[in-house]
Each structure stands twice: as structure tokens, then as C-alpha cells.
Symmetry: C2
């Protein structure tokens, strides 16, 4: 059962909190676009203001060679209370294709109980309920049950390039007994769940050049290699007829699920029609043979072509045999795949698959190892109880298909990483018409407070206060 | 042996003619780009001035819903002399990628005996030697041996969309006994040749949509269809393992070569290393099994992917499963393939190859039937003798891999179509650093005059004067 005092406080604060959310969402903090650098900074300043208003201390921007992160803390719970580091991010994805938004992305609206705007759920909404949970506890009880630190990154949607450096640089400031990541989702409003693993990611871009210039398709078509066709063949060759990724050694290190995780996975409700509808109405599902869709997106590694291009793509037609083409691929990795070993496999795949003599450029980057939180850790029990108190049922343990800087957080801070996240499968993150379901937002706020209360009782302490 | 009087005239005129060529090449008459509409018109006006200066009459712009063509004639050879319609075009291809030009495309230069600029060989140079051949004959003899008409199109590089309408609209003005197309090439400077057939063309663009929105590759990757991968698979599926086009019925109507054409083809010199170097240094050749490269580019039909695109193609990476992708394809057709039958085959191919439920958009357009000139026609004999007189050896008969409005010319004007063209395989048409070899240009001028002198003796007359 959720804390009654906090519930009462919340009822009186909803309008103010919603107004704060709207003001923040109006700032187009697109970290991938240099033209929005000023907006990302404005978003950081706005976030710092929210932290100060909530009663947090040492509020400051942590500068990086890219966009700034925001830090704030409250460290008066005493040396016996654990120190909790809450992580989220204030930057957002680009908004193209703009014409597919039913309302402007930087003008938040509430429709059918959803807040629609870029960044609503990913991740400003999920950061805001953490800040407001702390404010609510401070305003209703005058204290917090834990020593609390918040670190709100500004480059999560741009690959978190400088994030690990930032952690190392401020290691003392950020030291904690447990990390709480507030950037994930649940299976459904009535099926609470929490992530205990996130897939890693490795991106690569392959460019091929089959001639020094584009050639006239009438004069040369039929004899010379066509880079656009080659990139198509390479895209097709990335999976075999069983839809398994053909990168050498790709599956060698994939660890089997523990019985408890398998049981949690088997207990998850799943309906194909609903799932396809949530995906925006896909005509069919596909994927690795021998695995169910729920396994393919969480516990199995994948390779997705995120972009392909070659030759003439303007209006009409240009009668050429294209000389150059390329594709960008995002690999999702699961425990215990290692980015460096997979990178070696990618290089071998390119060597073995691209015809001899074709000029190749291969850029590999953004490697993030998969992350896993041990289910038997007491902090995981605190999370289970907090979610059960708010949603009325304990969470199923899931694996998140996405990837983030959580692996670095767990490794550098050297603490277990909990995932409290209220996103839903239909939230259209990274896509037009991103939304946040408001009932999930208010529950997230209560659960964040419940989690602090329960983590205070786990006895893990000593790292940061 | 070329006409001596004309050779003397030419020696005195080279600087003036070169200056005219440079002035014309400085006009960026890119017909595919609406921003250059004024330049295409300026090019037409410039061309009209050249015709007037040469002594031609009835010089006028023939307007179309697109860019204007240019017309001029000289019809005083008498009713017993044949009427010759010379065809060329004054519009040019776009110049991208601009950074691959070693000198600016609109600033003609002469380097190593080559004129380098966009349009040098395709087709302003080949139009200019026709105009100057007429001027030379008029200035040295006071007359022309044939009734001459010139039709210089302004939309050849943009699909000649309104060209057939233009022919029908001005049928009386354009009536002729023989058509001379001045827009093709030869095998080599020392291997004169002339085209007797041009491949037809049919373009199509296929777009696929596998979901209503791009989806997050972490959350959905591995289960939902990926449009970028699908377009790659479709690109790869366009040819089978023998590199034959998989469009149903594609080869059904391909006519076998006549013995004379086969003999001419077999006599053509061909060296793989030189050919690959001319193609700008391709690492290997490929194509339909069972045919030599020289056959694949001229006598066999082909399918080339001229462009492919899908998903995110900007800088860096965006972690999506793309919902949309597309490809553009240019089919080259040979006698006796029919564009309407091939179009039916393309529609069947799409139906059979794209997975059910995927949203498809298919645009098919620009159909041009393949063209063929009967080798035993007396006008072809005149062309053979004219080329032999200038190059010192009779031409080999070739088939041009490219396609143009020549099929409509022959059909609507109802006259045999001759191809006098001096382009070379290394001329980089439609590509950066387009060039024209100047010795070929001067020879073309003489050959154009020789052809008029010989056509006058074929006895075909009555259509146009």
C-alpha cells in the first residue's frame, strides 16, 4: 500500500507538476543535432531548477565535451542509510518525420489520459517523477530515508559518448550503494514488471565502392558491379534462412536463462494481435527460428539494418550504375556477449562477404556491453516490494531489449543497478507521437518514494554519504 | 577521303568553333532541375543563334509543357534531294557529386586533347559538329546536297516526356526521308563503329512500408519486419544465381541476332583490362551467365538498381527498425521486348516477391521501346561510306546499350534512323569529368558533311522539302 501522506500531497500538487512537465517538454533538447546544443543546455538549466525547488543540494551542471549532465543530492540520512544514485536523461531524440506527428512535438498536450510530446516518456517524465518523489517526501516528512543523488545525463540519445569519462571524473561525487535507472518500461499497465537486464549494443556502418564513378546504366549496365545491388545482397546476407545472424561466432557466448528468469518470462502474458497493434500495425512478425517473439526482443541478440542507401534517391530516376552504397547496422547484445569479440566477428563477416576488390569502409562504434542485475540481491527485493505496493502485484522480471549507459553505471559505480520504469509498449519512443500514460506517471512517482523507503531497510550502506 | 575544301575551311575555323562550344557549355542547362529552367531556355536561345549564324532558316524554339526544343532548316536542295532530319539535344545531366570534378563542370577546359565540361559529348559537342558541318558546306559550296532540318531537343536527359507529342504536333515541319541521330558513340578512336539498335528502357520505383512508424530497435528489433532489410532482400532477388533477371517473362521476346550483326559483334575488339579501366577501374565484371560482357551491354536486356534507400541515412546512427524503404530500377530492353508486356511482368514480380501484408507503392514510367535500323537500307550504306571516308575504315555495327527518344523518331517520322556518333567509352557521360576527345569532334564534323553528300546519292526523296 502506498504511503498515504504522500498520496495526499500528490493530489494537491498535480497541476503544478503537470505544468513543470509541460515547460520542460517545450525545450527541444535534441542532443544529436548540433543546432540544438543551446536547447540541451537550456534543458539542463531547467532540470537544475527543478532539483533546487525540490530541496536538493549541490545542484550543478556537470560539463562534458558534449552536452552537460545535471547533478543534485540530499545527504542527510546518516551514515547507516544507503546512498542511492538515480539516473535518467534530459536529452531527447530528433522528431523527424515531422509530418507524422498529430500534434507538434514541442507543444505538449494531454489527450485521452496521455501526455503527447517528444521526451514525454523518454525520459523527462521518468526523471520528473523521481525529482517530485524526493520533493514529496521532504515536504511531507522533512527528510529522506536514504542519501539521494540524482544524475541526469544530456547525451543518452546521442550514444552517451562522454558518459563513462564523466563517471570516472566525478567518482567521489557519484559514489553510491545502489543505482536506480529511471528510463525503462513495463509489460502493461496491469502487468507490472521490471527489467533486470539490458541488451548491449554495437553499431557499425559499412560502405562499399564498386567503381570510381557512377556509370551510365545504358552503356555499362549488365557488366560492371552495381553498388546498390551489392549493398542489397549484403543486407540480405546478414541473416540466414533461419533468420539467424551470420556474423561468425555471434551466438557463441549467449548465456542460457536461469530457471527463475525463464519462469518469469513464461508467465508473461503475450497476445500477438495486441503486440502487432502496439507496433503500429505491422503485417506479420518474423525473427530467429526456435524462439518466441518475447524471447527475440529481450533474451536473444539481434542485428537490425537501421539505414540503407546507394545511388540516386532524388525525385524521378537517374540512369546510373551506382558506384557507392552503404548500410548502418545496430547489433543488440545479451549476456555474456562481449562487444570486442563481436567487433572481431563483424570484421571477419565483412572480409568473407564483400567480393574481393570492392573498396570497403567499415566504422564500428558505440559498443555497450549487456547489463544484468542479480535477482537475489536485497535491493531487487526492495524494488519488487515497492512496485507491488503501488501496482498491487509484484513485478515480473524482464529483460529490456534496448541499451543504455547502464552497463557503465553498474561497472564504474560498482553497485547493483535497479530499473524502475513506467513506459509502456505503445509509447512510440524515438518515433512520432511519443506519449506518456499519466496514470503510469503518477504511479511512478509513488513507487520511487516507496523504493527509497524500502531501500533504507536493506542495510546496504557506506558508499556515498 | 574527306572533302578537301571543307578540311581547309575547318582549319581556319577551329578557334571560332571551339569558342562557340565553350560559350554553350558554360550554360548549365540541367533539364531535370526546375531551378535550371531559365538556363535550359538560355541554351535553346544560344543554339538558335548558332543555327542562324550557320545560315539555316525558319529558326525557332518549339515550345513544350517542359523545356523548349530548337528547330532550323535549309530546304533549297530541290524536290529530288532527300530530306534529312538531324536530331540532338541541348539539355544536360545534373553535375552531382560536384566534389568529384577535377575542374568545374560549367567552366570548360581543354586538357590532353579533351574538352572537359558537363555536356561536352552529351550532347552539345555532337550537335555543334552537325551545325558546323552545314555551315562549312554552305560557306564553301554555297549550297547543301540535301534538304536539311535540325531538331535539338531540350528534355532528353529528363525522359523526353513531351517529345513524342512535339513530333506529332509539328509533323509537317519535321517530315523527312531519313533521320540522323547525333548522340551515340564508337568502340574506339581507331575502331569506328555505328549503332544500328538502341535498347529501350522502362523505369520503376518500388516503395515498401512494413509498419506505420519507425520502431525502436531495442524494444522491437528481432520481431517486426524491417523495411531496410526487406528492400535489400528484394534488390538481391531481382537476379537469380545465374544473374538472370527474375521478372516473369522478361526474356520471352528477346530476338536472336542476325548473322551479319553476330559477325560484326564477333569482330569487335575487346580487352577486359582496358574495358575495366574505361569504367573507372572496376574491380571485376559480372552479369548474365552464358554471355560475354560485350553482349550483356548491347544485345541482352538488363535490370539495374539505380538507387536504394531506407531508414536513417544521416550522420551517426539512429536505433530504429525502419518502416519504409524503396528502390529505383532501370530496365534496358532489346528487340523485340515490349514495354507494356514487361510492365505486366514487373507487376507480377512485385506481387509474387513482396511478402503479403506489406504496403507497396509501385510507379512504372518512362517506357521506351527498343529501336533497330535495318542494316540493308541504302541510307545505312551512305553512313558506312561516310565513316570510312573520315576514319579510314568502315564501321562495325553495334547496338547501343543506352536508350533515347530515337524509337519515337523512327516511328512517328516513319523514316530509317541512322546513328552518327563520336563518343568514346571513357567519356564519363552522366558522371563527373565528362569529356569529349577533340579529334573525334573534328572527325564528326567532317563525317556529318560526308554523310549529307552520300545521302544525296541514295535516291530516297520526297518526304520533306
Amino acid at each position: 500500500m502506498a504511503d498515504l501522506a504522500l498520496s495526499g500531497w500528490l493530489d494537491a500538487q498535480r497541476d503544478r507538476i503537470t505544468a513543470s512537465l509541460f515547460d520542460w517538454l517545450r525545450i527541444p533538447s535534441v542532443s544529436a543535432d548540433p543546432d540544438h546544443a543551446g536547447d540541451v543546455r537550456a534543458s539542463a538549466e531547467f532540470c537544475a531548477g527543478l532539483l533546487r525547488d525540490a530541496g536538493l543540494e549541490h545542484v550543478q551542471l556537470l560539463e562534458t565535451p558534449g552536452h552537460p549532465a545535471v547533478y543534485g543530492d540530499w545527504l542527510h540520512a546518516g551514515p547507516d542509510a544507503p546512498t542511492v544514485l538515480v539516473y535518467g536523461h534530459h536529452d531527447v531524440q530528433p522528431v523527424d518525420p515531422l509530418d507524422e506527428w498529430t500534434s507538434p512535438p514541442w507543444t505538449p498536450v494531454i489527450v485521452d489520459g496521455e501526455c503527447r510530446a517528444r521526451g514525454a516518456i523518454d525520459d523527462k517524465g521518468q526523471v520528473l517523477y523521481q525529482i517530485e518523489a524526493a520533493r514529496g517526501l521532504l515536504e511531507t516528512t522533512g527528510t529522506l530515508p536514504v542519501n539521494l543523488k540524482l544524475l541526469i545525463e544530456g547525451e543518452e540519445e546521442h550514444g552517451s559518448v562522454y558518459f563513462e569519462d564523466l563517471l570516472h571524473q566525478h567518482l567521489d561525487l557519484l559514489a553510491a550503494d545502489v543505482v536506480v535507472v529511471s528510463d525503462t518500461g513495463m509489460l502493461a499497465e496491469d502487468v507490472p514488471s521490471a527489467t533486470v537486464s539490458m541488451r548491449g549494443v554495437l553499431g557499425f556502418e559499412l560502405k562499399v565502392r564498386t567503381a570510381s564513378i557512377d556509370l551510365h546504366s545504358g552503356s555499362w549496365g549488365g557488366t560492371v558491379p552495381n553498388a546498390a545491388r551489392l549493398i542489397g545482397e549484403l543486407a540480405a546476407a546478414l541473416h540466414d534462412e533461419h533468420h539467424r545472424v551470420t556474423i561468425p561466432g555471434f551466438y557463441d557466448r549467449v548465456a542460457p536463462l536461469s530457471p527463475e528468469e525463464q519462469a518469469s518470462l513464461d508467465a508473461q502474458p503475450w497476445d500477438e494481435d495486441a503486440y502487432r497493434a502496439q507496433a503500429g500495425g505491422v503485417p506479420y512478425l518474423e525473427g530467429e527460428e526456435g524462439y518466441r517473439p518475447i524471447e527475440r526482443t529481450g533474451v536473444r541478440p539481434t542485428a537490425e539494418i537501421v539505414g540503407i542507401s546507394g545511388g540516386y534517391t532524388g525525385p524521378g530516376i537517374k540512369t546510373i550504375v551506382p558506384a557507392t552504397a552503404g548500410m548502418k547496422i545496430a547489433l543488440r547484445l545479451v549476456p555474456d556477449q562481449q562487444p570486442d569479440e563481436i567487433e572481431t566477428g563483424v570484421r571477419r563477416w565483412v572480409d568473407e562477404t564483400v567480393p574481393e576488390g570492392v573498396e570497403v569502409s567499415l566504422e564500428i562504434g558505440g559498443g555497450v556491453a549487456p547489463a544484468r542485475t542479480p535477482i537475489d540481491h536485497p535491493a531487487v527485493g526492495a524494488l519488487r516490494d515497492a512496485i507491488a505496493a503501488v501496482w498491487g502485484a509484484p513485478p515480473l522480471w524482464t529483460r529490456e531489449g534496448g541499451s543504455g549507459p547502464e552497463e557503465a553505471l553498474g561497472r564504474v559505480i560498482d553497485a547493483p543497478v535497479l530499473f524502475l520504469g513506467v513506459g509502456l509498449p505503445g509509447d512510440r519512443i524515438h518515433a512520432p507521437n511519443e506519449r506518456m500514460v499519466l496514470t503510469q506517471f503518477w504511479r511512478g512517482l509513488l513507487a520511487a518514494a516507496e523504493l527509497h523507503l524500502r531501500l533504507a531497510k536493506t542495510g546496504a550502506a557506506g558508499a556515498g554519504a
